[in-house]
């Protein structure tokens, strides 16, 4: 049926159809769920951010070893190897030289952006780092098995599609270890900062203290203290305050008590971290609260967990991180029970 074939009685209908609004705002913002789904993906590749399981040591180690083996066939890294850097906005500096459309960031070079400039660093062939305004960052190492930047201050968004433990970012508060993920890392002028993970997992290490930050979580970092206990993006303020007091202000037993009181099932990741951080005298209380919020899976015993035996803690972690992942990835799509990870 063409327009001139339209019977007269359809004219009004067509006029009204033409007046229908072309745009209708969705009832709520869909971007957070979209952002979570595209995090870790590069446009056009269709490859997802991988859900690396930090405790599956053997398969990860095997994958890493395989990757090293395969990558190693391409030959040893060339001395002075550089990464490509692209100007996105303004005039970033490489050293003291204004960056053109693209340039090279050599080992030892500093890349600096002012308030209005941004750039993207290609991390070898495994990922990229968006350098936000007001950032100073240096290429430390450009080896097949050690891609390493040092973030002095500012903010970056890193996306890596590679086996874990090939990409590192040193900060004044410790080292971010990529476990197959995407994250935003910010460091202020005093060396303190925040890491927010938008795909996969990140490990943050400092002097033997370690935090594993999953998708949908963040952790504060402090110079001289290392990484704080990770917490969910929507964690209650009371929990955040208690964790900050425990991690960075010698909050001790009172801070732990407040954290346990404020914790929801959605905060199991935080309590799991506390298990290994609190004094032995407080550990039973942490475990009992955690077990109430997210029942431990088969194979996890109270005595084993209180002794910090590796196997039960890994088993418990796998349950907790799966629930956290499902809850975040299905946000806005399915209502996930934070105690079980199942759709309600």
């Amino acid at each position: 049926m063409t327009e001139h074939e339209n019977p007269p009685e359809f004219r009004e209908l067509l006029d009204r159809a033409a007046q229908l609004p072309k745009s209708i705002a969705p009832p709520h913002d869909l971007w957070p769920a979209i952002e979570a789904r595209i995090a870790g993906k590069r446009p056009g590749t269709g490859e997802g951010g991988s859900g690396w399981v930090p405790w599956l040591v053997i398969p990860l180690a095997a994958a890493a070893a395989l990757a090293v083996l395969l990558l190693g066939r391409r030959g040893p890294p060339r001395p002075g190897e550089a990464w490509e850097v692209t100007r996105v906005a303004g005039v970033p500096l490489v050293g003291t030289t204004p960056l053109g459309a693209t340039g090279a960031l050599k080992v030892g070079d500093w890349l600096q952006t002012d308030d209005s400039s941004r750039a993207v660093i290609l991390v070898g062939d495994i990922g990229h780092v968006e350098v936000k305004p007001g950032t100073r960052i240096r290429l430390v190492r450009a080896q097949r098995t050690d891609h390493r930047l040092a973030l002095e201050r500012g903010e970056i968004y890193a996306t890596v599609d590679a086996p874990p433990r090939l990409f590192f970012v040193d900060t004044p508060a410790g080292t971010v270890v990529d476990l197959g993920c995407a994250y935003t890392l910010a460091v202020d002028s005093s060396g303190d900062g925040t890491i927010r993970v938008s795909a996969g997992y990140v490990e943050f290490d400092w002097s033997g203290r370690r935090s594993i930050v999953p998708l949908g979580f963040r952790a504060e970092t402090r110079r001289g203290f290392g990484p704080g206990t990770p917490y969910a993006e929507d964690a209650p303020q009371a929990l955040r305050r208690a964790l900050a007091a425990f991690d960075f202000a010698s909050g001790g037993a009172e801070a732990v008590r407040q954290a346990l009181a404020a914790a929801r099932p959605e905060d199991a990741v935080s309590l799991w971290h506390l298990l290994g951080r609190v004094d032995p005298a407080l550990r039973a209380g942490v475990y009992d609260r955690l077990a109430t919020l997210v029942p431990p899976p088969a194979g996890v015993t109270r005595p084993g967990a209180l002794q910090l035996d590796r196997a039960p803690l890994e088993t418990y972690w796998n349950t907790i991180r799966r629930i956290a992942w499902r809850r975040t990835i299905l946000k806005g799509i399915r209502d996930i029970d934070p105690r079980t990870g199942m759709a309600r």
Binding site: E9, L13, A17, Q19, P21, K22, I24, I34, P43
Partner: protein
């Protein structure tokens, strides 16, 4: 090709978010009218933007980004439909006298409210062709290509949709 599209193609999610803000209303409206189901429209809108991100490298700037995105959205809706026939059970059927009163989609107040409801109450095939032809401005050849139906079927569904709508609006 705009700077935003170019930046998004380079992996800049902030640029892609700007594109989302610019186009989400149109994409959501398209999904809502094609499905007549607000919850499903939200899911498909998300799917469309995720698919757009995944396929962004294939956009060469030969058409407007909006055209490319809306066509992709239609594809997402129809691929979803083909993959899950159960969706047909969720849409309103014109023959169902309670259809117009049922919740399940967001009403659009103001101009076109009755027409929106009436469109939502159309049988799926007729509604899709009406939305694509009369609201979105696609040609029958394009609709046939997008939906996998024959051009003649598209014309017949449009005729049917218009007759049903006119009857509903006059009743």
């Amino acid at each position: 090709m705009t700077d935003l599209v170019r930046q998004a193609q380079q992996g800049d999610q902030a640029a892609f978010q700007s594109l989302y803000r610019e186009h989400v209303g149109r994409v959501y409206a398209l999904c809502l009218r094609l499905t007549a189901d607000a919850a499903e429209a939200e899911e498909l809108t998300q799917d469309a933007f995720v698919r757009a991100w995944e396929r962004l490298a294939t956009f060469r700037g030969e058409s407007a980004f909006s055209s490319w995105l809306y066509r992709l959205t239609v594809n997402v809706v129809f691929m979803s439909r083909r993959a899950a026939r159960r969706r047909a059970q969720r849409v309103f059927a014109a023959e169902d006298p309670g259809a117009l009163e049922r919740p399940g989609r967001e009403s659009n107040p103001g101009v076109g409210l009755d027409l929106e409801r009436a469109v939502a109450a159309l049988p799926p095939g007729a509604r899709e062709v009406f939305v694509l032809y009369d609201v979105e401005g696609y040609r029958h050849e394009e609709i046939a290509q997008l939906t996998g139906i024959a051009v003649g079927t598209s014309k017949a569904q449009l005729f049917r949709a218009r007759r049903l709508l006119r009857g509903m609006l006059e009743s």
